[in-house]
């Protein structure tokens, strides 16, 4: 039904998709999996007409198609449901359902009577009984997702692409959604299902395509592939032959018998984190492990107060933080190197100097006046120590390479002399040399007694860097690996949810 043949898509500097092929039969639920940057969203955008492939062909029902716009793809029978609900929150449920194809009365008026009746009937099939005249936003997220689904299917879809449809749903709503998916597949609709929740994939999907670094690395029946092998395809590691060659800048593990410096207890936020608790000891690197969407970044953000919580406490050095916000966390000595360097880290127009001293401004100021001399001293020290390569401290940080930007951010935190350093993907998107330097630096900092929390999708880095691993799945802690258990095989097994 859908036949994708050797599709490639190039962006300036990156090959986002390389010779990817994928076939989906009518009535088949096809899982599409891969870590961040594997090319899933690019592939979906090619299928929905957002991007045109540079090479390769997309065949629908045997005929080659080329969509110039998302609308053309929709008219050809490809509907998409995104992670976030893409509807009009203030319009009524019925209007959303029929948006753009409202039943008409003669004279160009909308036949509201018929629209409401039909909307109620359609939604009942999806297990939703609400007043369809209510504005959409008055519904729960799960119900909104169902409306989106009903709408997507109602437009005579042949192929339905679901991009993480359950990421914001309650367990009960997930069940309803799964039932609907089965029902749709029984009607002969082909479904491409993107999700990071392995349980769901195994319950729903017939076949699977695994993408990694823009290539299709595996295609086949999902039942033939156990979780461990699925995860190993996603991460690109062979579970059988885990060789330890010491390719990272980390040198062995650290002592782990110190008293915990930071105690995190019961971090909870609806749909995101469920009762996450763990300890971090000084002089040790604690890894937060988990697949994408497991809540690892959210946990790190919650610890420094950058993610509002429903409940939970953070204690550092025996003192419980009464209010969790970034400023309070920084005062207590807890800092986070965020995952998204560009969006949450650097201020691109400001100079290297100003980016480094940004968080330290109050400490190097007197009566609100910033001391230039103290700034220069800090900047000089850290540019040397971290070997930051810039034309001068006055160069805008946006012009630096990724690795140097990351070092600037590290300098921003290190000049505050923190007690806990949380690193979310510290080496993503930076070149090999800078990567080893950053890794060696983290190693050195831990040796000097800093408590470090590390999040990394780079399994090698993770295994060699972390002394202990707290495993997260679906926003909850599912286990902890210590000492000899911290191996690639052990971590992959824990991520996959199987006993090692």
């Amino acid at each position: 039904m859908l036949d994708v043949r050797g599709v490639s898509k190039r962006f300036p500097g990156v090959l986002a998709l390389q010779d990817v092929s994928l076939t989906v039969a009518p009535g088949e639920v096809h899982a599409l999996v891969g870590e961040n940057g594997a090319g899933k969203s690019t592939l979906i955008k090619v299928l929905t007409g957002v991007y045109t492939p540079d090479e390769g062909q997309v065949l629908l029902d045997g005929a080659p198609v080329s969509f110039g716009s998302p609308r053309e793809a929709q008219n050809a029978g490809i509907s998409t449901i995104y992670q976030e609900v893409n509807l009009v929150p203030l319009m009524s449920v019925a209007r959303n359902l029929f948006l753009g194809r409202e039943p008409m009365l003669p004279g160009g008026l909308i036949d509201f009577g018929r629209m409401h009746r039909e909307a109620a009937q359609t939604l009942a099939r999806f297990g939703i009984t609400v007043d369809v005249r209510r504005p959409l936003r008055s519904l729960g997220l799960g119900a909104q997702q169902m409306v989106a689904l009903a709408r997507a299917v109602a437009v005579d879809a042949k192929l339905l692409i679901m991009d993480e449809p359950t990421s914001s749903l309650e367990p009960r709503e997930v069940q309803t959604l799964e039932a609907v998916v089965r029902d749709l597949s029984a009607q002969g609709i082909a479904i491409i299902y993107v999700s990071h929740r392995l349980d769901e994939l195994y319950r729903l999907c017939d076949r699977v395509t695994v993408l990694r670094d823009g290539r299709g690395v595996h295609s086949g029946k999902l039942a033939d592939l156990d979780r461990l092998h699925l995860v190993s395809h996603m991460l690109g590691r062979d579970p059988a032959a885990v060789s330890r060659e010491g390719l990272t800048g980390f040198e062995g593990h650290h002592d782990t018998d110190a008293e915990p410096l930071v105690s995190v207890r019961g971090l909870t936020r609806r749909h995101v984190l469920h009762d996450v608790s763990f300890d971090v000891r000084p002089g040790e690197v604690t890894g937060l492990g988990g697949l994408l969407g497991s809540g690892r970044s959210e946990t790190a953000k919650a610890v420094v107060g950058a993610l509002p919580l429903d409940s939970g406490t953070v204690t550092i050095g025996g003192r419980r933080l009464r209010r969790l916000n970034p400023a309070a966390a920084i005062r207590a000595g807890m800092v986070l190197l965020p995952e998204d360097r560009k969006a949450e880290g650097i201020v691109p127009e400001l100079s290297v100097r100003e980016n480094i001293v940004l968080a330290a401004l109050p400490r190097i100021s007197r009566f609100g006046l910033v001391s230039r001399k103290r700034q220069d001293r800090i900047v000089e020290t850290f540019m040397q120590r971290l070997r930051i390569k810039a034309a001068s401290p006055e160069q805008p940080v946006g012009e630096l390479s990724g690795g140097n930007q990351q070092k600037v951010l590290l300098a921003r935190w290190l000049c505050l002399h923190p007690r806990l350093l949380l690193l979310d993907e510290p080496t993503r998107g930076i070149d090999v040399g800078a990567k080893a330097e950053v890794q060696a630096l983290v190693d050195e900092l831990a040796r000097d007694g800093l408590a470090v929390v590390l999040i990394s999708s780079d399994l090698e880095e993770f295994v060699e860097g972390a002394d202990r691993v707290v495993v997260l799945r679906a926003g909850a802690v599912t286990g902890e690996l210590t000492g000899d258990e911290v191996t690639e095989a052990g971590i992959m097994a824990a991520l996959a949810g199987e006993q090692a």
């Binding site: 970034p326 400023a327 969006a343 201020v347 400001l350 940004l358 034309a391 012009e399």
Partner: protein
């Protein structure tokens, strides 16, 4: 990577938005020196500077607000409020009256700031409310009437000289210097620019984002209130229905033409001064060549578009 490697046109287009406004001011002065009679005379320059002073003072505050990726549409209404408050308290003397006038700025600025920083409204919406409501309140305070100013101290503020320079101009100059130092040298100033440049990063870096935003809106409104006081003193009457009309647009124009990007993260104080001067000189030039006010407005529009276009190029 370095400037030298760039082709000539790229270097020019990088330099234009930065220095274009100064060049334009010089070109305009040169043009007038040759083609306009009695332009480069002390009396005329004096008039030009006096006229530009209130716009410049408002624009200084506007530049800071725009630096936070915001905008303040209520500045004209704040001028009206301050002008309306002034005569009510002149009975206690000039200083208490000015203090009360500036207080109106503090109040409006605090409301703007709270709406933006705490409630989370879009700056354009929050300050639009005060643009409409502020002038209404000003007319209520003034009972809808124009009031003559009789206080000698206040009138002197509008007409006296200090070392041969009009007091109004001296104040505008000193404020430009003060705002320049505030932005470039103080903790607050650097935090302000960081908040505008990347709010998420500023929050994660533990900056007091809300306090910075609040402070900026208050400062902007206080500067506008001061402009209201000076304009009233100059006019020798408090006229809340006319004072500061369309001032928000003149101020935004000066800021944008001066090279401050609307998407925040950079504030050009000197550029704002030049931007205000440029728009003033431009109008004076067109009028002295007997072009109508409406033509002058159209030329202004072209200048604004040009400035924004150049700024857009630079971001690439």
């Amino acid at each position: 990577m370095t400037d030298l490697a760039l082709p000539r046109t790229a270097r020019l287009s990088a330099a234009l938005p930065q220095y274009g406004v100064y060049a334009a001011v010089l070109v305009l002065l040169a043009f007038n020196a040759v083609f306009t009679d009695n332009f480069l005379t002390g009396a005329n320059l004096r008039t030009q500077l006096i006229q530009v002073a209130p716009v410049l003072i408002v624009a200084l505050g506007m530049a800071m607000v725009i630096g936070t990726e915001g905008v303040d549409l209520s500045v004209g209404s704040v001028m009206a409020l301050s002008a309306a408050a002034l005569p009510l308290y002149l009975g206690y003397g000039m200083w208490p009256a000015i203090a009360m006038a500036l207080l109106t700025g503090v109040v409006v600025g605090a409301v703007n700031g709270l709406l933006v920083a705490v409630v989370g409204l879009q700056p354009i919406v929050a300050t639009l409310a005060l643009l409409v409501g502020g002038r209404g309140l000003a007319l209520v305070l003034a009972e809808g009437r124009l009031k003559q100013i009789e206080n000698a101290d206040l009138l002197a503020l509008g007409s006296d000289d200090l070392l041969g320079i009009p007091v109004v101009v001296v104040i505008a100059g000193l404020l430009s210097l003060a705002v320049g130092l505030l932005v470039s040298r103080t903790t607050y100033g650097r935090q302000l620019v960081a908040v505008g440049g990347n709010r998420a990063a500023a929050t994660l870096a533990g900056l007091p984002v809300r306090r910075v935003l609040l402070g900026t809106y208050v400062l902007c409104a206080v500067l506008a209130a001061l402009a209201g006081v000076l304009a009233t003193a100059r006019l020798t009457a408090s006229d809340p229905s006319a004072i500061g009309n369309l001032m928000e647009l003149s101020a935004i124009t000066a800021v944008v033409v001066g090279g401050t990007p609307l998407n925040g993260g950079r504030i050009r104080v000197l550029g704002t001064v030049a931007g205000a001067l440029l728009m003033q000189l431009l109008r004076a030039t067109l009028i002295s060549h007997n072009l109508s006010d409406s033509t002058a407005q159209m030329v202004q529009a072209v200048i604004i578009l040009g400035a924004v276009y150049l700024a857009r190029e630079r971001r690439r």
